[in-house]
């Protein structure tokens, strides 16, 4: 048997889960889809005393569109969102197609990917671009964590060990807003060496009136390309300006080096991928009437 022994708890409700997390604190790990936690258990990189399996918790499997906001419950599988998104949210569908493999997405959850917070993962970057918010329940009741305040470092978020993330909310781009997704990975389904997600909308005069750029695989957390957004907002998004903006975003990065890519490679790739994502977003963006 691979994992070290652990006590297994399967609460049926959020209050029961919270009670267990409060009792065990840092000794407990929450198990949802298990596609990140179980490998860590198998490799004994994680040795929790207690595994709190939330798969039997009621009320966490909802996938709903409220206004323009997509609400994704903590037990919604990536594959379920992928099926829904193929018709309703093409950016999410495209990002999910790059996430692992079908067999991973069958079990893996959307919220799980966010709170696992791998800096090279696709969904956290989409979450940043879509002005995401995470509903978190804890001893003090519910709080909402904005995407910008969620990711604190590699595999580290601002969700506490006594808290449970119950729902992710994403402001889906409206029909006038174009989107782009671009990444480089060694093989399809691998974590990205670098990647970019972009949203772009134009006003009646042709200027960009909504711009989002998020980069992943280029630091300890996914990051917004603030320099690029500032460069483009309120201006005509010409090809030259997109390139300038993408370069500005990449220049602000200090990517890690590892066996797969140097820091300089990741920064150069980020500039190219950001430009591609922005160009794709521009090409898909409609004009206000």
């Amino acid at each position: 048997m691979k994992p070290a022994p652990f006590a297994y708890e399967a609460p049926a409700s959020v209050p029961e889960a919270l009670e267990l997390l409060a009792r065990h604190g840092d000794d407990a790990k929450v198990l949802a889809g298990g596609q990140s936690l179980v490998p860590m258990l198998n490799l004994r990189l994680a040795r929790p005393a207690v595994v709190v399996d939330i798969n039997g918790v009621g009320g966490l499997a909802g996938l709903a569109l409220r206004g323009g906001t997509l609400a994704v419950g903590a037990l919604v599988r990536q594959r379920a969102l992928e099926r829904w998104a193929a018709v309703h949210a093409p950016l999410c569908a495209e990002a999910l197609r790059h996430l692992g493999h079908v067999a991973i997405r069958t079990r893996g959850t959307v919220v799980g990917s966010l709170v696992h917070a791998d800096p090279a993962a696709e969904l956290p970057a989409v979450f940043l671009c879509c002005d995401g918010a995470l509903a978190v329940h804890g001893p003090g009741g519910e709080r909402i964590v904005a995407a910008g305040a969620l990711f604190q470092g590699p595999l580290t978020t601002s969700v506490g060990s006594e808290e449970l993330a119950v729902e992710a909310r994403l402001a889906l781009p409206d029909e006038r807003t174009g989107w782009g997704f671009s990444e480089v990975a060694r093989r399809h389904g691998d974590f990205a060496l670098a990647g970019a997600v972009a949203l772009l909308r134009r006003d009646a005069g042709g200027s960009a009136d909504h711009v989002r750029l998020a980069l992943f695989g280029v630091g300890g957390t996914p990051v917004r390309g603030a320099a690029a957004e500032a460069e483009l907002l309120g201006r005509e998004p010409t090809a030259a300006r997109l390139r300038e903006a993408a370069r500005a975003a990449a220049a602000a990065l200090d990517p890690p080096a590892d066996i797969h890519a140097t820091s300089a490679y990741r920064r150069r790739a980020a500039a190219v991928l950001a430009e591609r994502a922005l160009a794709a977003a521009l090409a898909r963006a409609g004009r206000a009437a």
Binding site: M1, K2, P3, A4, P5, F6, A7, Y8, A10, L31, G34, Q35, V38, P39, L41, N42, L43, V51, D53, N55, R79, E82, R83, A86, V87, P90, A93, E94, R97, G100, H101, V102, A103, I104, T106, R107, G178, G180, R187, H188, G189, A279, A280, A281, A283, R284
Partner: protein, 186 residues
């Protein structure tokens, strides 16, 4: 401390008692003696342990056996139609037949996972291009074949299955997932 698990595997009900840390892959192999599910990397990368959970592919090394309680699982042993008792050459599933005919395996270690993943894949994508097949195969490591014959086997299996899909545990598959159109394509 052990916990009870009740599962239906290949149409047959099974009951077991497992430690919570037992993976579904180990439960299938060691408790149910279904050793066709191969275990390679044990952290979700190699794809050898892929089985179908309620008709959808999963990594059996990344699911605890206790989590499979009440679910239905198909392993490689359950894919082919049952042969006559004592039949020295029992029938194969059309996907297995295509792998045999097109040399889609050598040592066979990765094959059960690939065959089951192919089963789910062809149900959703009955007319795949070589690119679609290679994207699916990215989730399965094969150290022998170089993949060319596997791609050919899957193309042949797709042709064989079109219009004459044998049912599997009555599981009706979900519909295909359409792709986003490229930017500027309109």
């Amino acid at each position: 401390m052990t916990r009870a698990v009740r599962v239906v595997v290949n149409g047959e009900a099974h009951e077991g008692a497992v430690e919570p840390r037992t993976s579904l892959a180990d439960f299938l192999r060691e408790d149910l003696d279904l050793t066709g599910t191969h275990v390679g990397c044990e952290h979700g990368v190699c794809g050898a342990c892929t089985v179908l959970l309620d008709g959808e592919p999963i990594r059996a090394c990344l699911m605890l056996a206790v989590q499979a309680d009440g679910r239905s699982i198909t392993t490689i042993e359950g894919l082919a139609p049952a042969g006559a008792p004592g039949d020295a050459d029992p029938p194969l599933h059309p996907i297995q037949e295509a792998f045999r005919a097109h040399h889609g395996l050598q040592c066979g270690y990765c094959t059960p996972g690939i065959v089951l993943a192919t089963h789910a894949f062809l149900r959703e994508c009955p007319e795949p291009g070589a690119g679609d097949i290679r994207e699916m195969l990215a989730g399965h490591l094969c150290r022998c074949t170089g993949y060319h014959f596997i791609v050919e086997a899957i193309e042949a299996a797709a042709r064989a299955l079109r219009g004459s899909r044998p049912p599997l545990d009555g599981a009706e598959g979900p519909s295909p997932i359409p792709r986003a159109s490229p930017p500027g394509g309109v």
